[in-house]
Point group: C12
Chain length 77, copies 12
């Protein structure tokens, strides 16, 4: 039985081709899935028994418990 | 026995043909269901033992614990 | 034994013929029940072991943990 | 042993003949009880192992965790 | 062993002959007890393994988690 | 073993002969104890495995989780 | 093993001869202990497996979760 | 194993000879220990499996969850 | 296994020779340890399976959940 | 079964080549994985059964429960 | 298995030679470890199954749940 | 199974060669690991079954539940 009461994060792509890459939990850390988002698409996703990290590449809003980050943006550089 | 006390999200379609795609929990990440919404329809849905991610395509309000996002909208581009 | 301490949502129909459709929890996602509401009727309902999603069609107030949405309304289009 | 620590809702009838209909929990969704209220009567009731939804018909105040709704009222039409 | 840590409600009769009727929990919903209150009497009572609903008839203040309702009163009619 | 961490209520008699009547929990609802209070006496009491309701008759302040009620008083009649 | 994490109340006698009477928990409700306090003495006491009610007679401050009551006082008569 | 996570109270003696008397938990309520405090001494103590009540005699500050009482003082008489 | 998640208190000696005396938990209440503090030394200590009371003698700041007391001081006498 | 309800941190690279190095939990503390981030990429990651420390090298925003730190930045030197 | 979710305290040495002495939990209270800190060094440490008290000697900031104390300082003498 | 839901602390080195030394939990307190940080590097780390104390040497910001300390700094001397 899985813990599906896990918190979730929200990702909104702001350009085509945003990648959300899930990374494996456990001893071996590697990518196990890549979800491609087009501009305007929203992805809601949880950490799971299989996923303990996610990497976001491309322009997107990333809504998390720590606030809203912007990936792929130049605003703080 | 499932954990049906899961938090839920709310999606309100703002145009016809909004897609809410459920993605499988577990080792294999793929779409297992797509729900089509017409303009004005509201969908309330939970993460489950079978669903650990959802993808929303088309103009919609997405009400989450992190606030209200707008999918398919141009307002931040 | 079921978890009947589940949170509940409130739906108030604002026109005749509002549909509240319960969708099955589990591997197979399909409608298992449709409740029809006439104008002014209020439905209070929970997510259950059998229901992990609900779809609302027609003009209604939908009271949720994320606030009050209006289904079938034109106000944000 | 039942979970009787369930939250409760309050319904106050504002006219004679208000109906509060309990709907069955489980695979089969149907009415299992209808309580009739006359004007001024108050009903306090819980969701139970047997009831996962309630439908209110007629003019009433419905006090819930999401606030106080008015069933059968014209004020928002 | 019962769960007697149940929340309680308070009812204050504002006229003689106020009825507080306990309704059975379980498959069969019927009245199992009626308590009569005279003006000024206060009843504090819990939901129990045997009671999942209560009906109040006559002029009374009903103090609940959702606030204080007045049964049998004309003020909102 | 009883649950003695139960919340308690406070009753202060404002006249002689105030009655606090404990009513039985379970299938059979009847009085199992009556405590008489004289003016100025304070009673602190809990709901128990044996008591799921209490009735207060006579002038008293009743301090509860919902606030302070006055039994036997004319102020709201 | 007892539940000694029980909340406690505080009683400060404002005259000699204040009585704090513990009443038995369980089917039989009777006094099992009376503690006499002289003016200025403070008693801190818990509800226990043996005590589900306490009666205070005489002038005292009674500090509870609902606030501070004054027993034996004329101020509200 | 005892529950030593119990809340504690603080007593500061304001004169020599302040008594803090522990009273037994259980069926039999009697004094099992008396701690004498001189002016300025501070006692921090918990309710335990053996102590369900404490009596303070003499001038002292008694810091509790309900606030700070003064034992043996004339200020409210 | 002990419960070492216990809350802790802080004592800062304001003169040489401050005593912090631990008193035994259980049926027999006696001193089992005395810690001497010199001016400026700080002691952080927990209630334990062996300690249910502590006595502080001499000038010190005693930081507790109820605030900061000053032992051995004349300021409130 | 792992505890995947773990809190997560957010890292946004502000230059190419930011390293996030996971360090092993347990008796032996060593690097078990290094994730390289390019400018604008966001990494969300959890502490796991295998990771009890992380080291960030290079210019990045590190969003944590204690606030937002900037690694590799000169602003406080 | 130990309870390592224990709260922690923070100590910052403000002079060379600050001592943080851990004292044994259990029947026998004695020093089991002394950590020496030089000026500017910070020690973060938990109460453990072996440590139920700590003594700090020398000038240091001691950050605790009750606030920040200064050991070895003259400011309140 | 370890408790990896442990709180974490954040350390940002403000000069080269900052040391974060992990100290063993249990009867024997000694250093089991030293992590060296260069200026600008950030370390996020948890207390674990093996680590109950950490010592930080050198100029760094130490973000903890009690606030942000500066190690190796002269500002309060």
């Amino acid at each position: 039985m899985e813990h599906n009461e896990q918190a979730y994060i929200c990702i909104k792509a702001l350009e085509n081709g945003v990648s959300v890459m899930g990374m494996t939990r456990g001893r071996d850390t590697r990518f196990h899935h890549t979800e491609k988002l087009d501009a305007g698409e929203v992805l809601l996703c949880q950490f799971t028994d299989n996923t303990s990290a996610m990497k976001i590449r491309g322009k997107a809003e990333v809504w998390t418990r720590h606030g809203c980050l912007h990936s792929g943006m130049e605003e703080t550089k």
